[in-house]
């Protein structure tokens, strides 16, 4: 199988990963039963391969997370797990979906967010006083006396 070995520091949940090549494409044999999603590979020992945590298998056209170990004979065994995000990156990025949360929104929106840390038992209280109206306790002629009679 044609395998290219890489090292990556990108988070496992990153759709697109930054890859540093450790080797060029080379022929590596599978070890044990062949599994397209969880293949195991075996190759001769190489110090530079110890840094490998990522690989690409051309025949499967997939990217994999790798864990390197050795067998009793000192050969390197690469236990791989498919990275669906990198493998199907273009399709994932351009497929319609419903975005529920995002960092790039930058701030809370009009969608209620129950995870926002609001203190439940405290409120900020402030007030706006209206422009002055006509009501006043200091009016000079503020009494009305109603009387029977008058100059009618």
């Amino acid at each position: 199988m044609t395998v290219t070995l890489y090292n990556t520091n990108s988070p496992t949940n990153a759709v697109s990963k930054a890859l540093t090549a450790i080797s060029s494409a080379m022929d590596i044999q599978p070890f044990g039963a062949l599994d397209i999603l969880y293949p195991t590979l075996i190759t001769d020992f190489n110090y530079s391969f110890l840094n490998c945590n990522y690989c690409y298998i051309s025949e499967f056209n997939r990217y994999y997370f790798c864990t390197v170990s050795t067998d009793n004979a000192g050969r390197l065994i690469l236990s791989c797990e498919v990275d669906v995000l990198m493998t199907y990156k273009e399709k994932i990025l351009n497929s319609p979906c419903v975005i529920m949360r995002s960092e790039s929104v930058g701030k809370p929106t009009l969608i209620p967010d129950e995870q926002l840390p609001i203190i439940p038992n405290q409120k900020d209280i402030t007030s706006i006083i209206f422009d002055s109206g006509e009501l006043t306790n200091a009016g000079e002629f503020s009494y009305i006396i109603t009387l029977i009679g008058g100059d009618k």
Partner: protein, 765 residues
């Protein structure tokens, strides 16, 4: 919306109007807009759907064209929704119309006709149905002379004139402008012809005062159609009925009186114009025949005429009548003006160019002018088919308004007089009142003196109420100081009378409710608000309802009762009210002499009656024993019976005595304990409200965030809530999505599940 293709064919089958040529017209910003000619549907063409009912000569006469041809509807303020029917009796007299056909919304359309294929005696307009038995409408051609008696109206029953109506299926609204023309007359003598008349454009008429002096009455008004006839040029299209032309028609059947002329199509006197006001006179000679009906638009005040050539209607011209004409024109949702020069080459955003405003495709008489025309939806339409008007759906013809109109009330005070006074005047009045008690002559009973001078049994009863209000009442009075009267007694103190108890309305101020967070935290349940209103308490304010709007408070105060009512407005619309009492009642104590006297008198009478009854009971009791001892003739049986009788009488007397004794004791008690009654005029109401703030205050309750909240970390680890149908590529950073559609992906089923799971837990894009 597009006209129904089953009736009016597909757009590719439409043909250009005879208004040929693609012209351009400048707008004031220097750009030119290209104006394409209207398209129309030709019922008689080979492309016309064969199933259309209008091709069928047997289609009932009263079948208007299908309404999908309408791009707008005539709403409120259109005279076509209240057409009046006017009858001329056989003597030729016309009278005020007694019947009005009311509608809420009337769809309409524009159309062309081409009568070159038929003889000149045929026309597509309405024709008098002279035969009274025939109550059907007319939508077919008839000979012009068919109004003469004896014509068989079915002579042309196989002739479907709908074939010659070519409705406009689409047109650029910038391809035509309506110009309001008015025909005005001189005379006022209703018994004869009104004299000379003259036709003006509306602005021409109103701009010269001499025109209004010489021709003060409006007789008829119409909207004349100007169409594009070249680059930056429009022409008033005029044609006779024998050649092609165009006009408008309404698409509703009319509820006409029997024997009235009827037509669902154009009612015009002048070719290529739309009647707006006056009698329509739907025959080519322009006169109305005796024994016939005519239709009237608008509400003329004067009807005149006793012969066919002099009949007419008129109203004295005024600015409000001019506005009525503009509103009637605006209902068509087209560009219009009152200036023929603007109609000829004015720009669409000139100050004197108007555009009727359509609300859900309905013109209700509102219009914009000048650059505001660019804000109307029609400005961006490619053509009339961009209109949202769908006459097949229920038409919302509600009269929406976002303004509350407050009225005014004043109450007559015929029996009392109110005075606005100061505190010092009030003290002076109290002293004057006590002084007046000493002025009673010694030989006159006090109550008699009081009734004579003060019109009441006690001077204190003159005072109906004394209230203190939280405002200076001076400006609501006559502002003329007058002597204050107790009944007929002039006190010598002065106050400002309120001749009529006005209920004033005044402002208590306003504020604008702005966003604070600009996100969900500004709204319930996270934020809330209450509005404190003086004397009325608090009103809950829903942030979602008021956010971004102005909250204002108005208050009306009833000077009679001291109650107040506050009105909470959102912008200009009153959405809530609250009421309370703002006046403090001042207590006034007094002695009610009349009540005291009457109670003493009543107690005395009761005592006398009780005494008499007790004496009578005692006498009967005593007599019984005396008669018992004086019996001389002895008989056992009689004796026993008499003893029994005596026993019964004794019991009754004993009861009477007991009852009478109780009455006497009770009456004595009443006399001894009759209290001098005090009358309390008014009661001291809590004045606590008066010490509160006298301006409204909007109190806002907002959520608090945890001090340790870090917006950047939150975004990277949790992300901000959003709800967007999009793709991950539209976002960046930490993103959570759901419902991802992976159609056509080459991944295995397990891989697809892995993708969905990872994306829903959050990925970094």
């Amino acid at each position: 919306m597009l006209p129904n293709p089953l009736i009016y064919g597909k757009p590719e089958s439409w043909i250009d109007s005879f208004l040929v040529g693609n012209y351009t017209f400048e707008v004031t910003d220097g750009n030119s807009v290209e104006i394409k000619p209207p398209t129309l549907f030709n019922f008689g063409s080979e492309d016309a759907p064969k199933s259309t009912i209008y091709e069928n000569p047997n289609t009932p006469l009263s079948t208007p064209l299908e309404k999908s041809i309408a791009y707008a509807g005539l709403g409120r303020n259109s005279p076509y929704n209240s057409i009046k029917y006017l009858y001329a009796d056989t003597a030729g007299n016309v009278y005020t119309p007694t019947y009005t056909d009311e509608k809420s919304v009337t769809p309409f359309f524009l159309y062309e006709w081409d009568v070159s294929a038929i003889s000149n005696n045929h026309n597509l307009r309405s024709v008098y149905r002279y035969n009274a038995k025939d109550s059907a409408s007319v939508s077919r051609s008839r000979k012009v002379t068919a109004w003469e008696s004896g014509i068989d109206v079915d002579e042309y029953s196989g002739y479907n004139s709908n074939l010659y109506i070519k409705p406009w299926t689409s047109f650029d609204l910038k391809s035509l402008v309506l110009c309001i023309n008015v025909e005005c007359i001189k005379g006022t003598d209703t018994s004869s012809q009104y004299g000379a008349s003259k036709t003006f454009s509306l602005d021409e008429y109103m701009s010269n005062d001499q025109n209004i002096v010489d021709y003060p009455y409006l007789k008829y008004a119409e909207a004349v159609i100007y169409t594009i006839s070249g680059d930056n040029k429009r022409t008033r299209y005029q044609t006779s009925n024998a050649v092609r032309g165009f006009n408008f028609a309404i698409l509703d059947n009319l509820d006409v009186p029997t024997t009235a002329l009827y037509s669902y199509n154009a009612f015009f006197r002048t070719p290529c114009s739309i009647p707006l006001w006056g009698m329509l006179k739907c025959i080519t000679t322009g006169t109305m025949q005796e024994g016939q009906f005519d239709m009237v638009l608008g509400s003329p005040e004067i009807y005149y005429g006793t012969n066919s050539t002099t009949k007419g209607c008129a109203s004295r011209f005024s600015e409000s009548l001019a506005e009525e004409l503009r509103m009637a024109t605006a209902c068509f949702g087209l560009f219009f003006t009152g200036d023929s020069g603007i109609a000829t080459n004015g720009h669409f955003d000139d100050d004197d160019m108007y555009l009727g405003i359509l609300e859900n495709g309905i013109g209700n008489g509102k219009y914009s002018s000048g650059v505001e025309n660019k804000n109307q939806e029609q400005w961006t339409w490619r053509d009339s088919n961009d209109s949202p008007f769908d006459p097949s759906k229920d038409i919302d013809d509600n009269n929406y308004s976002d303004t509350t109109n407050f009225g005014s009330v004043s109450i007559s005070d015929a029996f009392v007089t109110r005075y606005a006074v100061s505190a010092s005047t009030l003290e002076g009045l109290a002293k004057e009142l006590y002084k007046s008690l000493d002025m009673c002559p010694e030989d006159v009973p006090f109550t008699e003196y009081s009734v004579s001078e003060y019109l009441v049994n006690s001077p204190i009863d003159c005072i109906v109420s004394v209230m203190k209000f939280p405002l200076n009442i001076y400006k609501y009075t006559s502002q003329i100081s007058e002597n204050i009267y107790f009944g007929r007694y002039k006190s010598g103190e002065f106050g400002y009378p309120l001749r009529r108890a006005v209920v004033p309305m005044f402002d208590l101020g306003s504020c604008t409710y702005f966003k604070h967070f600009d996100d969900f935290r500004d709204y319930t349940p996270y934020s809330s608000a209450t509005l404190y209103i003086p004397f009325c308490g608090t009103v809950d304010i829903d942030p979602a309802e008021y956010m971004g709007h102005t909250i204002s408070v108005k208050m009306s105060i009833d000077f009679t009762t001291g109650s107040c009512c506050a009105y909470i407005l959102k912008d200009s619309l009153c959405v809530n009210t609250a009421s309370g009492t703002c006046a403090i009642e001042i207590p006034v104590s007094g002695i009610d002499a009349y009540t005291y006297n009457s109670q003493i008198y009543k107690g005395s009478i009761n005592f006398q009656q009780a005494e008499i009854t007790a004496n009578q009971a005692r006498d009967r009791y005593t007599q019984l024993f005396m008669s018992q001892s004086s019996m001389k003739n002895f008989s056992i049986t009689k004796f026993l019976k008499s003893v029994q009788d005596r026993e019964n009488q004794l019991d009754n007397a004993r009861t009477d005595l007991k009852r009478a004794t109780i009455d006497m004791v009770s009456a004595a008690y009443s006399l001894q304990t009759t209290q001098i009654p005090f009358k309390m005029i008014g009661a001291s109401s809590p004045a606590t409200s008066a010490v509160m703030e006298l301006s409204p205050r909007l109190i806002l309750y907002r959520p608090k965030m945890l001090d340790t909240f870090n917006a950047e970390v939150y975004g990277k680890t949790i992300g901000y809530a959003t709800l967007d149908n999009s793709t991950l590529s539209s976002y960046s950073g930490y993103t959570v999505a759901t419902g991802i559609r992976l159609d056509g992906i080459s991944a295995t089923k397990d891989e697809q599940l892995m993708i969905e799971s990872l994306v829903s837990q959050g990925v970094i894009v």
